[in-house]
Symmetry: C2
Subunit: 225 residues, 2 copies
Amino acid sequence: MGKETKELLVLEDILGSNKKIASSIRKKLTENGILAINLLSAPGSGKTSLLEKIGQKLKNKHKIGVIEGDIETERDADRIRKAGLPAWQITTHGACHLEAKMLAQIFDQIPADLDFLFIENVGNLVCPASFDLGESLRIVLVSTPEGDDKPKKYPEAFITSQVLVLTKCDLLPYLPFDTDRVIKEALEINPHLKVFKTSATSGEGLDELGAFLEAELKQRRSQHA
Amino acid sequence: MGKETKELLVLEDILGSNKKIASSIRKKLTENGILAINLLSAPGSGKTSLLEKIGQKLKNKHKIGVIEGDIETERDADRIRKAGLPAWQITTHGACHLEAKMLAQIFDQIPADLDFLFIENVGNLVCPASFDLGESLRIVLVSTPEGDDKPKKYPEAFITSQVLVLTKCDLLPYLPFDTDRVIKEALEINPHLKVFKTSATSGEGLDELGAFLEAELKQRRSQHA
């Protein structure tokens, strides 16, 4: 058998500031028609569960990769691989957020023919919001058990995102969570937020979110064609 | 009416490193027989709800104060005041954790005759773990909807705490949460953790936690008498 010649992504410049590296990453991903999506939330809001389910929906038609950011352990990457998706783990060993340089270090492992590259950030609703990773779309998640008062208490993540995904909506009957309040408050901070109500358990809202991501991919590719 | 002469806490030194300021705060609180308790958790784990309920249990017999750390808004302090407890808000305006110098800046507002001083940190399971605030007891909270895999993914908060409080246990029938797993894992990281299973909704475990805090106060006062 001949040597495998799978094309991989190569960054010209992995030095410089976070912003500069993030711009290089975004340029390279966009040139390759890859839609990179940075997922931000508190610990336990359901980022990995959402990716397992959305990934399984999209993978029949699209090529998907997942970068998993965690302080310790490779648990989330293992879950994603069990769901049949390739995953690259970045373990920060204490650092509270991903930075573009961490992505740059594993960038040459990522296939150039992906459609979607999901980046699951460290579970932290604060610090990751300040670091551009070169994504084209940022999604902030709020799980219903966290309470409906989060947007104004943690505004940066909502200001810098384009999409708000409410997760664990199957638990609404058991919680004092006012869906209208959280959406109203989030839109006061960022009127451009696109909002999805979802549950990885019941499947609610996942088709809509999947269709939205497919439309975003198509639109962005046509813009950069 | 004469001028009010309520005794307040005064710090000798509010300059210097976090560690130095924290030591000054701890010394002053301990001299005054105040048990300071730093509460750490992810956003929405139920720190404020726990304080509302524990505060109401303890306030008949003890004098209680609450410092509320938040990135933005005074919502949590308002909730604590509505529960009949004095609260001092520290709004960090973007900073992801409390530091001892922030407490030092409001320290002269805190009555010297408190029994318990609760410090609700910014909702963040990562960064606050690295900052000593001069507390004598650190409690880490994990809410059941966050999942049972948190201790090894976010170890620092569990290593530096003396107490683990599982919150929202009333939701257990609706969740894939293995209580034994999370306790086992937390104790592997820190075998000295004292664990409480609680629910601010059902009241489960609150008497036990309250009794533990009263016993801690008594024991620490006898040590420093």
